[in-house]
Symmetry: C2
Subunit: 355 residues, 2 copies
């Protein structure tokens, strides 16, 4: 393994030190680890995300005006711990409420839920928004239910704009649920990533093999498939994405009045002709931008054939899996409110416009 790192134990810490030096608008805490906006307006809902490191720019690269107020990074592919979220939330508390945006992985969900209970005990108003957009598998190595993957980037942008626009915690929470129920993603890998502490690729693929339905930690998906060309694989990914079989699950939501968890039944909405979407074609790290445009070309053609309208797109490496070669495609069936929030100014290291 050759990587531009020093000792494997210091990978996340040294990355945070780099972020601190590079971005004076951000404040970095090393112990416990979190990255926050250095200055925060006092009258907004606070949006915090987090998760294992190794998916950069997600989440730390999305901290700033119009997107996340803070991100809590765990070690590589490892959930952050409740003390990170608690300390971060306390530092940023505006009294308007904290919304934790959490990708659906068992460890992340458990730790964020613990933080919610602790903060509630301290009298703070807090809620969890769950993202579970990965259509590849229901229940997997690290997850009950669908995994949370690249649509998280879209959720962070839209919810960040909503908090900036003065939405209440309840309004943000409702919007978050709507985003999750209108988002879907799928990924494939051409090669495995190398976790620094492991020192070698997580799995081996034959010369003509891909992992279809890969997760962002290299966990297996639907099948090992034979790779012929980009168009064939893109078509298969789109077929899976556009499959409208119903996806229902029970989601735990925090009831601040009762101070307890309650279960809700959620259903992912169908994607129909005439719907408007935001498309994210995302590199898992090692796949060059040029190949993403080859994929986007086919995605756009297929959506045109289905009468689905691409309103916005984002093409690049936004939710990665270290140096993995591979691609994911996300579709967010976006209503006018989401589109309007998408277009609002944003000023973060990895996503910036209008500022």
């Amino acid at each position: 393994m050759k990587k531009m790192i020093n000792h494997v134990d210091n990978v996340v810490r040294e990355q945070l030190e780099g972020v601190a030096k590079a971005h004076p608008d951000l404040a970095v805490s090393l112990e416990p680890a979190f990255i926050r906006r250095a200055r925060l307006p006092g009258n907004k809902v606070v949006l915090i995300s987090g998760g294992g490191s190794g998916h950069e720019p997600m989440h730390s690269g999305f901290v700033g005006y119009g997107m996340l107020d803070a991100a809590c990074p765990g070690e590589i592919f490892t959930s952050p711990t409740p003390d990170q979220m608690v300390e971060c939330a306390k530092q940023l508390n505006t009294g308007k409420g904290i919304l934790f945006l959490v990708k659906n992985y068992t460890g992340d969900v458990m730790n964020f839920e613990t933080a919610v209970e602790i903060l509630h005990g301290d009298g703070m108003k807090v809620q969890v928004a769950l993202i579970d957009d990965d259509v590849a598998v229901k229940d997997s190595l690290y997850t009950a239910g669908r995994r949370g993957v690249a649509a998280t980037v879209l959720a962070e942008k839209i919810l960040g704009a909503a908090t900036e626009a003065g939405y209440s915690l309840e309004q943000c929470s409702t919007l978050a649920k709507r985003i999750t129920n209108h988002a879907r993603s799928i990924g494939i890998a051409l090669s495995a990533c190398t976790v620094p502490a492991a020192g070698k690729p997580g799995f081996e693929l034959a010369e003509n093999e891909i992992e279809f339905g890969i997760g962002i930690h290299g966990e297996p998906g639907i099948k090992r498939a034979t790779f012929t060309d980009s168009d064939t694989t893109t078509r298969e990914m789109m077929e899976r994405l556009l499959d409208n079989s119903s996806y229902q699950r029970t989601v735990r939501r925090w009831n601040g009045d009762l101070g307890d968890w309650q279960e809700e039944n959620w259903t992912t909405a169908s994607l129909m002709q005439g719907d408007k979407v935001i498309v994210l074609v995302n590199s898992l790290g090692g796949t060059p931008l040029s190949e993403l445009y080859c994929v986007y070309r086919k995605v756009a053609e297929i959506l045109e054939q289905r009468g689905i309208i691409i309103e916005r797109n984002l093409i690049g490496a936004y939710c990665t899996s270290l140096d993995m070669q591979g691609v994911s495609i996300s579709l967010l069936n976006a209503d006018d409110e989401m589109l309007s929030l998408w277009d609002k100014p944003v000023n973060t290291p990895a996503l910036r416009w209008g500022c």
Copy 2:
């Protein structure tokens, strides 16, 4: 070789088709190949760059308001041909002059110079700005003199803002010369890239080896070196970058009044304590953002020790070499005029702020 491409002969074409579908502000010509702003104000100098494909987002990702007016992509790692530049320049001609921004590679320089002569013959006002920022080697596989690499991104941003601000062709040309004489870059590779038509990596490195001073086409640099860790390699790169031994060369410049080339002697300026720089820490494609921040951390520390002030930074994959794992560092010794132009709004697929 597994890549998200179809037939190797169509790689550049299908990428351009993707760009055309993704970015309605851009107009794409497939034959001859170029990407241009769909609408251009009639009263500005036209800034056009180009070069072999495989370095994306450079150059096509930098076409848009405040940066390039057009880019002419060649096949992978192959210079575009004069007919591309000529047709592109004719379509965009505003009468205020055309500035070709050219990375110093023998093939590129020759073809852009041919285009200059043809356009001059057609009565157009035209000039070439040469970028030769790579301190690794003087004269190399494809180049007489230093190679043009990642500082091109900085030049494109600053010159794009200058053309937008109403600079004349002569003013742009003078500014371009100043940028080149104040820019320096160096790169290292941890692994080779795979050119689609070749089907396998361009070279092999042992488990603990890096190519120090790599070019953006995988051409060799200063030495094969033993890799120990990021800090050691970054320190060696910075020593090479901060070496102030004089670099003088003779540059051909077009004299539009005489209709002929003239030679000028150029000297790269020294970098001194108290100087202000724009730093670009750039992934050659396969190196994740997290590692770039580890490198940036050390770069910032070394510059602080030298009393050199980082005024702006850019960290990401901007000038790549397909899927090569590696990093380059560029320093532009920027005066107040360059910094002010750097900060101006830009709206391109790969670099966007203030719009």
